[in-house]
């Protein structure tokens, strides 16, 4: 059994952006998906833990891993929305932009649509019929019925109400000519436009939490910056919390309030953005920051972390970075470090900051903070 994500603890507050950094395969995406229970089971297993979510307007916190499917569906796309890495894959190629955005409104805002369309009384059964139409759950025969005179005008009003909402959701992402984009198919749009459509879809219901899983990785560099600005602006408008997942440290530095670093399915460090970039504690974070090329660096010299990410099949209790860590001592291979608060708002999982006496471990087995330069 692969332990793709193991004991990750994240907390995100209203209006805050938490950056989640890690290299490919470190479990960032699985973490994000499991927040919404999107990891398919089987083959996936939610072995334990909880995802506690408290919506802004109701005080009740719920555990997303344990609530019934129906309740979870009411939260997905409504209170928690997700933006995917590659917009070309995350939009259904067979459906128009309008059809795909309409689903969000139909699923979570159908009663508002129904109310705003001002459906007046008609023949008996009109209201349930149109409620179902607003919910996009009409059967084949109901759709035929909706084409007939008394209902047709009402359905048109419903449709117009929906169109307005879709257009305003699209224009919020600064898409030029939303009416035209609405009726396009994904293949007719550029990558940046597709990601804007995804963002419009995610923010359609004004969610409390936005999970952005590498939203700019598949885009051109010039468009990356614009999408990033867009997410930031919209976040300020909506006061949403954002979980921003990326392997790009410079992006995360720019957008996040706090940053968590993942390595091989484990969280190794969490701190405010400033602390993390100015004073990283975990050796992995330090190595990662050292690997970011700077303008001052001579050509051809790139710092790299020696070795590879360990296998995650039935891992032994140990620090997963120990085989690549310049500080590692014997204890690192034998026991698992805890993610503890080392400074104010700064947590790291490393034995370097533990007291050997607390661990009951001889000093010579502890990791060494001074490393002799051996290169």
């Amino acid at each position: 059994m692969v332990h793709a994500v193991d004991g990750v603890t994240l907390d995100i507050h209203e209006g805050e952006t938490l950056g989640l950094v890690g290299e490919t395969g470190s479990g960032k995406s699985v973490t994000a998906k499991s927040l919404l229970r999107l990891v398919p089971t089987p083959p996936g297993v939610y072995a334990g833990g909880e995802v506690s979510f408290r919506p802004r307007n109701s005080g009740e916190a719920v555990d997303l891993l344990r609530i019934p499917d129906q309740q979870l569906r009411g939260i997905r796309g409504n209170r928690i929305a997700m933006i995917f890495q590659d917009p070309a894959k995350a939009l259904n190629p067979a459906l128009s932009v309008k059809q795909q955005l309409a689903e969000v409104f139909a699923e979570h805002r159908s009663s508002e649509l129904f109310r705003d369309a001002k459906i007046v009384a008609g023949p008996p059964g009109t209201r349930p019929l149109l409620r179902r139409a607003a919910h996009r759950h009409s059967t084949f025969f109901e759709r035929r019925l909706l084409d007939l005179p008394p209902f047709r005008a009402m359905e048109k009003r419903l449709e117009r109400e929906l169109d307005e909402r879709i257009a305003s959701a699209l224009s919020a992402t600064r898409i030029p000519n939303p009416a035209k984009v609405m009726n396009s198919y994904p293949h007719e749009l550029s990558g940046g436009m597709k990601q804007r459509v995804m963002i419009a879809q995610a923010l359609a219901c004004d969610p409390d939490l936005l999970i952005a899983d590498e939203p700019t990785t598949a885009l051109d560099v010039t468009i990356q910056a614009r999408i990033l600005d867009l997410i930031q602006d919209l976040q300020e408008q909506h006061h949403a919390a954002v979980l921003y997942i990326s392997h790009d440290l410079s992006l995360v530095k720019r957008i996040s309030d706090r940053v968590s670093v993942m390595y091989a399915g484990k969280l190794v460090e969490t701190a405010t953005t400033q602390q993390l970039f100015d004073d990283p504690l975990h050796p992995y974070t330090r190595a990662l920051l050292a690997a970011v090329p700077t303008a001052e660096q001579a050509r051809g010299e790139l710092a790299a972390i020696e070795g590879t990410v360990p296998e995650l099949v039935d891992p032994e209790p140990s620090c997963r970075f120990h085989s690549r860590c310049p500080h590692a001592g014997p204890i690192c291979a034998a026991r698992e470090p805890q993610l503890l608060t080392r400074k104010q708002q700064h947590r790291a999982a490393c034995f370097l900051y533990d007291d050997p006496q607390d661990l009951g471990c001889p000093v010579d087995l502890m990791p060494q903070s001074q490393v002799s330069e051996t290169q």
């Binding site: 998906k33 919404l36 999107l38 499917d69 569906r73 009411g74 939260i75 997905r76 796309g77 409504n78 929305a81 997700m82 995917f84 890495q85 590659d86 894959k89 995350a90 939009l91 259904n92 190629p93 067979a94 459906l95 689903e103 969000v104 699923e107 979570h108 198919y185 293949h187 995804m198 879809q201």
Partner: protein, 337 residues
Amino acid sequence: MQVREYIARRLLTLPILMLGVSILVFGLSRVGGSPIGIYIEHEMTPAEVAKIEERYGLDESLPQQYIAWLGGVVRGDLGWSGVSAAPVSSIILPKLMATMELAMLAALIAVVLGVSMGTFGGARKNKLGDHLTRVVAISGASIPIFWFGLLLLIVFYLGFGWAPLGRADPSIYARIGHPTGLYTVDSLLNLDFGAFTDALWHLALPAITMGYGSTAIIARMMRSSLVEELGEDYVDAARAKGLPERLVIRRHARRNALMPTMTVIGLSWGFLLQGTVVVELIFNWPGLGRWMTDAVLQGDQATIMSYVLITSIIFLAVNLVVDVAYAYLDRRVVLGD
């Protein structure tokens, strides 16, 4: 607009394809032996044979013969059927309709059952439901059609005596008019539901026999492409929107999984037409297939050519419909040309 343009373009290619088919049919008939074989006897002198050849225009060059034949086909003259001792055009229509009725019902069974079985199995990958549909599908693809037909015949005709043979009860058949030649449609047009039940009852066994193999192929295709589509990001995105699983499958995954399945559906029409020959023999169905068997055994070329030409054109038409359906399912197809 774009889709309409695409359909118009596809329609324009149809005559060209049909012309190609006609050349092929004509060419193959000349490879297959003398077209007057059925009229020649051993006692005839070469002069007598030459006289017959002259009578049918066989002394002229091949292109001239082709044009003469094509001209006849266009005017509705398909030649003289030796096995039926009548002009092909006068007897082909009721037989064609009999076969079409059977093939269309078989196709309907195959598409509806195949797509739903494939969706059912694909959505429950490696669970009990998936294994059950797989057993049904694999047996359907591997059981020979003649054996399956005989089996149904033995059980339901000889054993229980539930199913009738042939196409219709003669007394019921006589009491209604036949504007289309499709008995189920005719009986409905006559508002005679007794006749409709009778027609359907006669159709059931042969249609099931014919449709089973295609059901299996369509179900397998549908299952595997649905499983593939369910792994795509847009399915996760649809779930993340809060859609119920039923709609995730129906609106998102199934729609895209239908694309490759459509191709198989179009191609399986060829299997269906091929199956008519055996099925019509087994169930005593008065269609093209049995007529064709007789014609092949006796070397009746006008009949064979008409049969091949008509079934090829039907095949082309079905695949045109598939192409159009493609364009509606996925707009990217329209861009391809």
